[in-house]
Chain length 303, copies 2
């Protein structure tokens, strides 16, 4: 979709639609996760209380009297099943600062044009760290971004087991492939490769998990179709993870596996603090640090 | 000292002197820390075995047949007193790659000249994370750097209590002030300010600890005098920390204080992974990641 037919009215309608979806999806996820938290056996037998999400409002640093938007951070910690899970939704907007412009350029967000002065962004992001080392951690996020001259979507999801199970990896990728194929046949290999490149720690010479998909600057010219894809990624993530947790949480784990998990989380923290674009962007654009860093593990070890 | 009287012979003599000092100091520190590990009461009563340092050789990634130098990483973990302490010494050299040149420029290492093609660097770096939350963590490092055209020293030390004790902070800074005053009267305020600016987490709006001193590109033109200062910083660090640990390790601590410590270590990991120049430089120049990241805490929490 080029700027000529991207009228102010359609922008606002689409922004509203996208925002509603992200917020609805966040509520759905929180409800489903709370249900699992109640139903499934506890990771540690001393954890008897099923936890619930607590929600707090988050804001960006703004001059007094200025509204730059904000969001809601839903967090559940020390649960019977979920050791720490955060679901952030936020809708932020305002002038494009030079810092933000630089951060976007570093992200090679080619959709940013020179005349762009204002941005709007809405999205959902989620990271779940599970107590049972047999249950992989997961990351998922999707967002819509608009500037004066255009729009794009971004997002991704990747699976982070500390002990890889080939069948889980295969099922995750097969599902993502199917979601992508509904959009176009070339999409899955592209987005998988992007994830392989993105979720990689050069200093460790290894990936942080078993991959998934990653996309940014996503605009094929057909907003309805692109937005449908973004919704499908969200739906797939939720369906896949619910069924995975239901199976893997039933498994017995050992102390040695739990130690492996804590070390693997160290790697996860390294990735998020050194490389993750969303983290950098969030910290550099003055968003609430607790919301930006919600992805960090509840406990991690380095030896 | 300008390049004209910085002859090849004096360079080599000075490099050897500096290297010997860093290696000698590392041995001294390891011996003294092992003595404390034996003498002092254990943090957790189940820790009955006094640990010792293990040493492994570290190297930089180098093409086959190329020697780019390396070092020794001495590490002691799960000790009665020292939960994790790493003492790295390394001496590295070789061509200045564009990546390294960029990293040095970002560090505003003004001593780097355009014609410089080779570098040599030797140094010691140390981080101690203590099990007892009443005993502050500490960081210390000093190094000498030479290029084709000149030399400089760098380093610093900062104290990281999770519960600040004013008398410890005061004593640390008073000692550093005295060390600096022997060199010049303006030095302490300069290096303290540099540490205050450096050991700061903009995204948290706070310092990581109670400060100390930080210096880089340190070359007053008098190598002997500058090297004497570097040695004094090392001696002071060791004397101060030994007497501090001897006092604070005797104190009883609570579960709540231990939780505070684990959260404070999260902040420490954030600093090192997001901001620390030495970490960035080490990872970008292909040094052994385990040696570079040895500063990371043994266990950290994020809520």
């Amino acid at each position: 979709m080029n700027s000529s037919n991207f009228t102010q009215t359609t922008v606002q309608t689409r922004q509203a639609e996208a925002r509603q979806w992200f917020e609805k999806l966040a509520d759905l996820i929180c409800n489903e996760f709370e249900a699992l938290e109640k139903e499934l056996p506890a990771t540690f037998k001393e954890l008897t209380i099923a936890q619930k999400f607590t929600r707090i409002r988050t804001t960006r640093n703004a001059p007094p009297g200025t509204d730059l938007g904000g969001g809601v951070m839903a967090k559940m910690i020390d649960g019977r099943v979920f050791e720490k899970v955060g679901v952030n939704v936020s809708t932020v907007y305002g002038p494009i600062s030079s810092r933000m412009s630089q951060a976007l350029m570093e992200r090679q967000a080619s959709r940013l044009n020179e005349g762009d002065q204002e941005f709007w962004a809405s999205g959902i992001s989620l990271v779940a760290h599970m107590g049972n080392p047999r249950v992989p951690a997961i990351h998922f996020n999707t967002r819509m971004f608009t500037t004066n001259s255009g729009w794009w979507f971004g997002g991704g999801t990747d699976l982070n087991p500390c002990i890889e199970r080939q069948e889980d990896t295969d099922q995750f990728h097969a599902g993502l492939k199917q979601v992508c194929r509904q959009h176009s046949s070339e999409l899955y290999p592209q987005l998988k490769r992007w994830a392989d490149e993105y979720f990689f720690l050069p200093h460790r010479g290894r990936a942080r998990g078993v991959g998934g998909i990653f996309f940014d600057d996503f605009n094929t010219g057909d907003w309805d179709n692109d937005f449908a894809f973004v919704r499908k990624v969200g739906q797939f993530f939720l369906d896949f993870y619910l069924s995975l947790v239901k199976i893997r949480q039933l498994e017995q784990w050992t102390h040695k596996e739990r130690e492996l998990l804590l070390m693997h989380r160290g790697l996860y923290a390294e990735f998020n603090l050194i490389y993750d674009r969303g983290t950098k962007f969030g910290l550099e654009t003055g968003h609430n640090p607790d919301a930006v860093l919600m992805s960090l593990p509840p406990v991690a070890k380095w030896r």
